[in-house]
Symmetry: C2
């Protein structure tokens, strides 16, 4: 087979064969197909699409490029959650210990911050000592012992995706439904799950901008999951404004601990509980969704979800003392209030703008080699729908470098304040 001929085939909108996809993927991994040929192919796939068969074959190639974890006798209780990425999205960190406490097993392989969005691994690494690079064998032990563990993508799991994802990130080929499907599903299937609940973020602050695209992606994810014998449930959630009250790594860890102590922002609770309800139903922990809230509440009220979280931190070499002493996480040198310039109702908080702005105080990366400032971030005191008076505090920026004022100004501009009152909308836009 000839790589150029295969690129031309896809460029001309034709269907690739199973053998063609196998050839292109495997030859790329051994270096016989160059990165520039792969990126031309990826662009052709993005613009010309792939049908169900092609997406399935690509997912298969991704999976068979690495190891597949096997848990024995799972009884359908190995359920994971995946998020397509947002601003202030700390759902995994509160959801996993609750799900585990309810009796599910959650083998979670997470990612780092991408573009303007944060990453679960970066948030967890803000805990002193916490390790995310753990061998698969130890990961399996941790999941069986504490019912959940969260680690970074290993070299052993789906190396094809690891290499192709890095290329997609810099060649404008991220937003492709078949490529996103193969990337997400291959990693999840390789981590040994029975079922998967996906938080598909929609809106300006997300990679998927509209509900139409979200539905197409959901259909693709669900069908590919079914083909591999995995149950997949997808929630569409709004990502126009940041989720919860904190954005920034150690600030979000504190928000998570507070959540597990019963103190939560309504929107973060709404999304977390809805995802948990689907997981509990899927894992047969509850028989109906309306039983889920009580089950979840119990794990919080009893303090057991928090205990399980502390155990998780300890098992991955972090300092579990953080659940009672936030000073262990360190603190930024400066705090700058964001002051409202006029009174009115908060109509909109542009999460994409805030995500990009916070990168300038080190809360995220510009390039993969950048070091994150874990203590930098933003605490919102006003959310969409809230009324603010002139000169009232909208939020507080925490930082250590010299860029605080400029960043605070950009954050202020990302607030849209209007005269007429705003109805607070729920985050859940739909379910697939």
């Amino acid at each position: 087979m000839n790589p150029t001929e295969l690129i031309i085939k896809k460029r001309d909108g034709k269907k690739l064969s199973k053998e063609g996809i196998h050839f292109f993927t495997t030859e790329y991994l051994v270096g016989n197909i160059s990165e520039y040929q792969m990126s031309a192919m990826l662009m052709a796939i993005l613009l010309k699409g792939m049908d169900f068969d092609e997406t399935y074959w690509l997912t298969q190639e991704y999976i068979s490029s690495g190891e597949v974890i096997k848990f024995e006798n799972t009884n359908g209780r190995f359920i994971d959650k995946h998020s397509t990425g947002g601003v202030g999205d700390k759902v995994s960190i509160v959801l996993a210990p609750i799900a585990a406490e309810c009796g599910l097993f959650v083998p979670m392989i997470s990612g780092r911050g991408l573009e303007h969005t944060g990453g679960t691994l970066d948030k967890l690494e803000s805990i002193p000592g916490f390790q995310t690079q753990i061998p698969l064998k130890r990961f399996k032990e941790l999941v069986l012992q504490n019912h959940f563990a969260i680690i970074g993508q290993s070299k052993e799991i789906v190396p094809a995706d690891r290499r192709i994802y890095a290329l997609r990130d810099v060649t404008g080929t991220v937003e492709s439904i078949p490529l996103m499907t193969a990337s997400i599903m291959s990693k999840k299937i390789s981590s040994g799950i029975d079922g998967l609940v996906i938080d598909l973020k929609v809106g300006e602050g997300a990679f998927v901008k509209d509900l139409d695209t979200a539905k197409k992606l959901a259909e693709s994810l669900s069908k590919i999951g079914a083909k591999f014998g995995k149950t997949v449930k997808i929630l569409f959630t709004n990502m126009d404004s940041p989720l919860g009250s904190c954005i920034g790594n150690s600030l979000e860890i504190i928000e998570c601990i507070e959540f597990l102590k019963g103190n939560y922002q309504e929107d973060l609770k709404e999304v977390t509980f809805a995802l948990l309800a689907e997981m509990l139903l899927m894992g047969k922990i509850v028989k109906a969704k309306n039983q889920a809230e009580e089950t979840i509440m119990q794990t919080i009220k009893s303090g057991k979800a928090l205990q399980r979280f502390a155990k998780f931190v300890e098992l991955q070499d972090g300092n579990p003392g953080i659940v009672n002493d936030y000073s262990i996480l360190g603190k930024a040198k400066y705090a700058l209030p964001i002051i409202a310039e006029k009174e009115g109702y908060v109509k909109d908080i542009n999460s994409k703008e805030i995500g990009w702005a916070l990168i300038d105080v080190g809360a995220g990366r510009r390039k993969i080699s950048d070091k994150i400032d874990y203590t930098a971030g933003l605490k919102l005191s006003k959310k969409v729908g809230d009324y603010v008076q002139k000169n009232e505090v909208l939020g507080e920026l925490f930082y250590n470098n010299g860029k605080g004022e400029r960043v605070a100004d950009r954050i202020k501009k990302s607030y849209c304040i209007v005269k007429s009152s705003i109805i607070k909308k729920g985050r859940i836009l739909g379910i697939y």
Copy 2:
């Protein structure tokens, strides 16, 4: 500016700015934009197109990446011919000495064989001693002295195209109208011409498969030429079957010498004379196209075009004795006749098939580093429209390696012989 953002812009079908195209091209040339980003951009351009402005800006960037030859006081007589490439296409080698003898100056920068098509440089290099790698200063002198010279693309002329073309060849991004336009026009404009006649090959054996695409490409080439103050005339010529009677490097040189001696295949004469007529009209050598044939004929009958060809060979260090002694070109060890299996009329000779088949006996390259066997090739004794009897000779294959019989078989299969008679059609399909 961010390369990924620019790729996304084009991917989403938006117009690139002059600054964006400048940034992408110049940063690629200095190595700040990687080949995989360039290839993703090229695929996005191929699939989403470029408007006139973008094509113009790209052509400008190509030109300013290198040197531009300037001939002083040209009086509009520096006219070149370009062909988009075909099988048996030796037009340049007979056309240039005739045009020069008529009084035009032809500064020709040619290419090598590409895929199944032959290249003027390879054909000329089959002449012992002949040099095609000549510094621009010497090239200018040769053009002024003998009215024409043919050299290979130099590193000084349009380095942007040289690098991007190599990438397009292996990433399925050749057949793009804006990319073809920028590539062709930048090289020709940089070679110091006043006007250009283009032989746009159409059909299965060409890179442009249909007349619709040919017309779009012609419009683009013509408009970009006009924007740079250059007259451009385009002939659409049929490339379904090979041009002339020989395919293969030294065989084609012999056919060219015979042509200049007045012995020619009708189709090669038709195309060559039509292109020459446009050139002579453009360079004001003749006042009307119908005067051209007489002027051309005179240069052949007088033997002066042949003399000028011999002088050209001598000036570029080749052995001019070839015009009287073909044995100087060497000869293949084996000759194998291609025998007709049935009687009838030749309806079709698939030039693409023949081009690919002849690569197996070394007449062309599979990869850029392959060495060409100059003596290998095919001499056709039957052309489209001819009547053949069973067991009559269709052509003769010349070769040195062990693949002769297999190649001869493939060539035989590229002939389509039918019972009902065929009207011989002209090669000229249209003019733009």
